[in-house]
Symmetry: C2
Subunit: 269 residues, 2 copies
DNA sequence: ATAATTTGCTAAAACGTTTAATTGATTTAT
DNA sequence: ATAAATCAATTAAACGTTTTAGCAAATTAT
């Protein structure tokens, strides 16, 4: 016993598809369906457990009432919160959200945009990967709405929603300076994406303002090899002759790892 | 300039829809399309930037290659990790995942199952809400595959994947007993769902085994009023004449709140 | 009493696929 | 030389909607 369709209802009641469709869409006025007929149809629909088929609907009207969300890592609290709120909001407007994951992987970003394009999502919300620019450009060319989150590509004309990474970074560093730190290391992902470069710029600007900037204090981590790279970075900062008195971690994940290695070195934190 | 369809490719090359479709699905053998034609079609498809329309496809074949995931709270680490792994796995089999959220709200659970049914998802993975049983039953009646996660309804014949809450609870409590605790409070959500009742059962069984069980040590929290209820629970445990020497929190969220209030009371933790 | 308008509904095409049945051309077997 | 089999492609229906144009009957206006 397969799903009940508009046609089934129409037959059961002895009326045409069109009439049922109009009623189901609340267009009984425009379609001038009589009140009694509309009621009969609604009743029958409920009785038969009718569920509209959004695939057919989407095909016909060319929209899917779906938005595609591409995040870098859904298990990261920042992104899962983001996903949560986007979903809550979208739902209020009758939209569903398909959430996908790239794991900061450019190939996956390509794949995910394709999957979502195939599904005719009406728009994209994307946390782009480092070299994801071409895929975003492709969407824009196709006139598919896109908004970038957390990171953007300055050369592209896409809306974007950003945390003010630069100022957050400046603020944090100044606070450390006020606590008397002068030799502060930076542990940051190696990335050309704005959310990272902005934080780095904030760090450098503050240290230069205080005249204590040294390039050797910056350690860049490859996303693909976090554990190792962080270990090496911490060791080298610790054993350098820089007289370290503080470390600024660019992300929470880096700081967690960093603290682990610092504890192993019996640093007091 | 709208999307390129199979028909466009067919016209451009002077061949029928069917031929193109066969090639795009890798059925050139079964459909006996000549190698040269297949190549020409593939080349043209790439050139024209063809993206298949999954809505049309889904409508025709009656499947959507999509699975619907309904979790209680995507911003909860346990669930977002779950979502992450389900997605990774599904993707490998060519499935997409639509993730939705109930916030432990039964009405939302109803809504979400409807949304996903309308989208013809091929199967459901659900973390059910407390009174979500009827919606699960409805799915089963309709022969839509469902698997329950984290919580199950013993009366229903659905597959489920569970954490062994009972034994985890027993283990934790025994460990506390071994550390000498005897008057241990329980802070737990008021819920009939198995993941909670199992933990409670574990708690009671261990305390009874040691002959120290007192119903007054159990404090049940309403999910809809967490902050207040936890505060009251902690206060009442703390000021009771039970000589409290330990508290077992049933979930991480409860423990975080609990610790906050305990600190306010200057407990040492 | 006739014309004009409104009411209540229907017919049929379209969206982009997939697929069973068919056809005409070539090749192979007899 | 004809029958049988294989090949390469086509035709057309179907999936479940939405929507435009149209039609007959009922109502209102002249």
């Amino acid at each position: 016993m397969s799903r009940v369709s508009i046609k089934n209802i129409a037959q059961a009641i002895g009326v045409s598809n069109a009439t049922v469709s109009l009623v189901m869409n609340g267009k009984e006025k425009e379609g001038r369906v009589s009140k009694e007929m509309a009621d009969r149809i609604r009743k029958m629909a409920k009785e038969m457990n009718y569920e509209p088929n959004d695939l057919a609907r989407g095909l016909r009207i060319g929209r899917s009432q779906t938005i595609g969300l591409i995040v870098a890592d859904i298990s990261n609290l920042f992104f899962s919160n983001l996903a949560f709120h986007i979903q809550e909001h979208a739902e209020r407007f009758g939209y569903s959200v398909i959430i996908t994951n790239t794991n900061e992987n450019d190939l996956k970003m390509e794949k995910m945009t394709n999957v979502l394009k195939s599904r005719s999502v009406d728009g994209f919300i994307v946390v782009p990967t480092e070299h994801g620019q071409p895929y975003i450009e492709d969407l824009i060319e196709r006139n598919i709405p896109v908004v970038l989150v957390d990171r953007n590509f300055p050369e592209i004309a896409a809306s974007s929603v950003m945390v003010d990474n630069y100022n957050a970074s400046v603020k944090a560093l100044k606070s450390m300076m006020n606590q008397g730190c002068r030799n502060i290391g930076l542990v940051i992902y190696k990335s050309g994406l704005s959310h990272m470069t902005d934080r780095k710029r904030g760090y450098i600007d503050v240290l230069e303002e205080y005249g204590v900037y040294k390039p050797s204090l910056i350690k860049e981590i490859n996303y693909s090899n976090i554990t190792n790279d962080v270990e090496i970075a911490i060791e080298s900062l610790w054993h350098s002759e820089n007289n370290l008195d503080g470390i600024f971690f660019a992300t929470i994940s880096l700081s967690l790892l960093g603290i682990k290695y610092l504890m192993r070195l019996n640093a007091d934190i």
